[in-house]
Point group: C2
């Protein structure tokens, strides 16, 4: 169950991960849940939003680039990234961006 | 049918629009399709990605902040934003961010 992330006042960072899935399952759902739980434990983590239809979009929010770099290098995450490239995703794009302003309802 | 956007080399801008829907329908689907078609005609538009499950995430990509400002002020879009606030969305968040790097598969 994904909700709108309760992020602090900008500036902060957003990692936009867009993907299309392959046919391969072999533990994808478990891995995806585990990666969210693990990300939430990292220092600098601010929130995560996720939805999938034709494509999957997961946006994670971070305090700074250092936190993003550490999360990318996390051993368990590195293993998941490897399986993602080799098996789970037919294509993906990661975009690292700096949130400059936000507003909402 | 949403696909991974074929964006140019960074830097460029991403507008991350995350929302939860109300029960109200009254033309939501038509409006959403029309807004994508209209956005694609704007100068500075680079691409759009969208998916909805518990929450909807639409990320539109733009060449610069000027293009985002013009799109926000587009008359037909202003009308859709008004209906969005009053009827279609129970909550939403708009985050304007600058994409600094990207990579993918």
């Amino acid at each position: 169950m994904s909700v709108i992330a309760n992020t602090p006042k900008p500036p902060y960072y957003a990692v936009i991960f867009t993907s299309t899935r392959s046919e391969a399952d072999n533990g994808y759902g478990e891995m995806a849940n585990r990666m969210v739980a693990l990300a939430e434990q990292q220092s600098g983590f601010l929130g995560i939003e996720s939805a999938r239809e034709d494509i999957g979009i997961t946006v994670s929010y971070w305090a700074d680039l250092e936190s993003i770099k550490r999360w990318k290098a996390n051993a368990e995450h590195v293993e998941a990234q490897k399986n993602g490239r080799q098996s789970w995703y037919s294509a993906f794009k990661v975009r690292v961006s700096k949130v400059e302003r936000d507003y909402g309802l």
